[in-house]
Symmetry: C2
Subunit: 147 residues, 2 copies
DNA sequence: TGTGACCTTTACGTTAACGTAAAGGTAAGC
DNA sequence: GCTTACCTTTACGTTAACGTAAAGGTCACA
């Protein structure tokens, strides 16, 4: 009961996305969503909901709201202005480079975590059976070692 | 003249990492780096430099300083306390999940950018030769389409 | 000797992204 | 008619991560 639905209350969206209603009102203040009103109450459309989802995705990777919105609004640009299209293509390239750098950083961090985990499991094994020497056989850490 | 070097001034590091000296002093205030002093002046070790590099890597993927430091300090944990090792393994798993979610989000955003770029190039092509129909042949966007 | 190029400390200012009251309206249900 | 569950607005508070003076020390160099 949510994906065929086409209008949402503020608390519905808040609980769906695990954010406060304040957060959503804040997004409206900033103009990132524009719910219509029914009396006083905000009624959010499926489009509003989608924008919120995208904003939160941006947040998870460390974008500011403004940055997320900039990306989201790239979809909205009409293809009628040649100059704007050029500017948009440049922005896309810029963003892509940043995101690719992030991918590299993420990969590095994840392999760092794997490394620490391996050390950690070795230390634990060593402590449990009293030996501080290397383990028998391979580093059976349960996780594949980035083959 | 930097990788065999073992001590650094504040402005050397600042310019190397393209941050302000204020930023580095701020990191010291927070205890993330602990340069020794020569008179009044801060002298940073290669270890300090490495920590700064890691902090900035964390920043690029949207971690707070505290989060970066938490990850960095995982390396420092000695394997002597069984209970701590367990806690550390849990933390690692938590972090890994978040980072993996970030990877998914990044992938999605990058393919969204690709999509917008394609639309954009099509629109530009259409405008330039006056036709709003589809382009001749394949979508020759210069970029491989995630083969 | 003065003028840059660095370095220092102290301290108030700023922005983003909300949190947190406070005070009140409305509709459902007992 | 009263409570409970939502909803509203207005508005001040908070945290992170620095920015930005202001005021001054030190060393080399012309």
């Amino acid at each position: 009961m949510s994906d065929t639905q086409q209008s949402f209350s503020i608390s519905e969206l808040a609980s769906e996305f695990s954010v406060s209603t304040r957060t959503i009102r804040f997004y409206e203040e900033k103009g990132f969503v524009t719910p219509r009103r029914e009396g006083q109450k905000r009624i959010f459309s499926a489009a509003d909901r989608a924008r919120i989802r995208l904003i939160l995705r941006g947040k998870r990777i460390g974008l500011t709201l403004a940055e997320s919105v900039e990306i989201i609004d790239m979809y909205r640009t009409d293809g009628s202005d040649e100059e704007q299209l050029g500017a948009l293509l440049e922005k896309i390239d810029e963003r892509r480079k940043a995101l690719q750098q992030q991918q590299r950083d993420l990969r590095d961090m994840l392999s760092a975590l794997d490394e620490v985990e391996t050390l950690c499991r070795q230390a634990r094994g060593a402590e449990q059976n009293g030996t501080s020497e290397s383990q028998r056989g391979a580093a059976a850490s349960g996780r594949p070692s980035a083959a």
